[in-house]
Amino acid sequence: MATLHRLTLTAALAATTIIAGAPALAQDDSVLVGHLADYTGATSFVGKQYGPGVADAFKEINADGGIDGTMVELDTVDYAYKVPEAIAQFKKWVGNDMVALQGWGTADTEALISFVARAEIPTISGSYSAHLTDPQGKNANTKAPAPFNFFYGPSYSDACRALVQWAAEDAKEKGTENPTFVHTGDNHPYPNAPKEACASYAEELGFTVAQPVVVPLAPGDFKAQCLTIKDSGAQYVYMGNLGGSVVSLIKSCNTVGVEATYMGNPWAGDYQTVEAAEAQNLIFPSSTPFYGADVPGMGLVKKILENGGGQVGDRPTHHYLRGICSAYYMKEAMQWAKANGGITGKNIRDGMYQKTDWVPEGLEGVCSPSTWTPEDHRGLLRVTINSGSFTDGKAVIKEIAEIDVPRREEWLGQ
């Protein structure tokens, strides 16, 4: 009898443990987030800043308790900016039940549009191609709707429109009549993304738009291209490339004697580029303050950097901060998903739509208020414009304008 009693007790205990243990087990679980980074490829100059931003941010998120208890297993893969590698890696991750993707380049992100839509994997990319902003294909000119693609910051097209708008005012101030605008960049999806959109807005604002000049993404001697730019008589040169290519272009054009204002895309300008190019008045957009700025959220950024992998040294560029923002928007969307039916791709996507003028908690002043809706993935339309100059051996960067790009219907996805 005593034995039987003990047996019942044991069984009851076991049952209690199992029932009580189930939620405890669920607390310990983790979700896989894929992370495509470029540390060795053509865009590694900024990839080595943005990638660690994402990775260090998720490290901090996990240290702070994850997604309300669920750990994020971030698998960072250096795909060297090669599309086939990215696709092969994506397929592998989908086989391992990935719930979300932190992407990188334009070529691979655009190649993956239909893949992420089919597999329902929300993607926050380092590509700001405007082709990713039309989730339902509402604009008749959109080639393919991108329902699962997001990014933090103004699109390449909107950033370029803001630059052109600034250039129009600058030309008026300087008294330049009928200024000329020229697009430079490689024949590659990333520099090409804003090419037509930006040129047509420049024309609308009264610019003469010169024939685009193809400049390779890999650094080199670009004097031939610079002679073409000089012949076009352009006063405003938009640069669709980044890093070494931008440095080479500015140096080559200075040799040739081009007198123009250089305007970069969101990846083309930072203190390292200004210093390497010894540039004067390099105009570039940004969507976060620079590291060390006096804003409330900088404390968290410093903490993330201190506890991080140490890949960016102690003075990261603003690309690192954008990586952090990308990670924290995803984190809060995952939190919403967890509270509303579980961390699945579709729920995370819906989580991105829950807030307006959204700033992730703890990053006030770092990430600008952004709003994504089911019809419009242009999260941020405010563009900060900076001017960087190389003076006394170091880069001096000044904010010169803040431009709100209008949310025009016909610009959705373009």
Binding site: K82, V83, P84, I87, A88, K91, K92, G95, A107, E110, A111, S114, F115, N187, H188, P189, N192
Partner: protein, 353 residues
């Protein structure tokens, strides 16, 4: 006397016509090949995604390497544009299937289209030899690469193009296990075809062109015709391989088909064995698996010597290069030769020479 890679060994006589007609040398060899095909066909029951994806890629690259082996190993022509032909096949198949033609038909059609392109780019071979031909084919690599980046209607330009999923009467070949059978089918077709080609009148003509073009011409072989034909056959298999690759990934991007790929194909056939049919597959397996084996090796070294943990990526890359150099120095006749030596030592044991 020119060097003849992988000749038939001394003492290997064929006394009857029937013996001369067999595809494989011995009965055991026939059985072994059949068993190999059956084993690969059974793999999806045992292995997971990783092994299957490796088998698929070995098959795909093996088919393309086989094509290059017809050109380089059998006919003695060099091509530095094989990767671009591989890419052309991928884009062609994506384009054909995008226009409503089933993928299974699009793949051989893409092979034929690539064959036509290959024959056009093979025309310089009528006049050029050796290094000069190498440079001429290098040009075809760059011309095609530029075409991929610009021909929006055909390739989607720099954005690339989507390749449909293959399906058989509505049954989607949408995972590795299913796709493996499609690749296996083409591997068998391609390798049997080339093994047979070597024994035909045309195949012997190709070998004659390689061994001594002047003698071949005196014997009445039309050099121009056979050199261009060789480019055609080689590109056909490159196209088939490329088409299979495109539909496997689901997306074709101009970035994937650079000169590096062309050189990898050359490395595959040199390491596998020039002129050897089975060597093409061995070489493809070697080149694909070596970096992964070296990764395991480098990580293993890093666990023993933690100080070099930061440098595993470099160690991996350098070991791949070192392994290839060692291979070429120690085994210039390729993996196939090594295999024959091993087999000979078993057969002659304990009296191996």
């Amino acid at each position: 006397m020119a060097h003849v890679p992988n000749p038939r060994p001394t003492g290997d006589f064929r006394a009857t016509y029937a013996a001369d007609r067999t595809l494989f040398r011995t009965r055991n060899e026939t059985m072994a090949v059949l068993a190999g095909v059956v084993l690969v066909a059974l793999c999806p029951l045992v292995f997971g995604g990783y092994v299957l994806s490796q088998l698929i890629l070995i098959g795909i690259y093996g088919i393309a390497a086989l094509g290059l082996n017809v050109l380089t190993g059998m006919t003695g022509q060099i091509s530095l544009g094989h990767g671009a032909f591989f890419g052309f096949g991928a884009f062609a198949s994506a384009w054909i299937s995008g226009n409503g033609i089933p993928v299974l038909i699009a793949i051989p059609l893409a092979g034929l289209m690539t064959m036509a392109v290959g024959m056009i780019f093979g025309i310089p071979a009528a006049r050029l030899k050796g290094l000069y031909l190498a440079i001429a084919t290098l040009a075809s690599q760059y011309i095609l690469q530029d075409f991929f980046a610009r021909a929006d209607w055909f390739t989607g330009g720099t954005y690339g193009s989507l390749a449909e999923t293959a399906s058989v009467f509505g049954f989607q070949l949408n995972n590795d296990a299913r796709y493996l059978y499609l690749v296996l089918f083409w591997v068998v077709v391609a390798f049997v075809a080339v093994a047979n080609l070597a024994r035909t009148r045309d195949g012997r003509a190709l070998v004659a062109v390689r061994d001594h073009y002047l003698s071949a011409e005196i014997m009445g072989i039309n050099l121009t015709r056979y050199r261009i034909l060789s480019f055609g056959i080689s590109s056909f298999f490159a196209g088939i391989g490329g088409a299979l690759y495109g539909h496997y990934l689901g997306f074709v991007s101009a970035e994937g088909f650079t000169i590096i790929l062309s050189i990898e194909f050359l490395a595959m056939i040199i390491i596998g064995g020039l002129g050897s049919v089975s060597g093409s597959l061995l070489g493809a397996a070697f080149i694909l698996l070596l970096p992964q084996a070296m990764e395991v090796f480098a990580n293993g070294v890093a666990t023993v010597v933690p100080a070099i943990a930061q440098g595993t990526a470099y160690i991996k890359q350098m070991s791949v290069g070192a392994a290839i150099i060692l291979f070429l120095v120690l085994e210039p006749e390729g993996l196939v030769h090594r295999w024959r030596m091993t087999r000979a030592s078993w057969k002659l044991f304990p009296f191996s020479h």
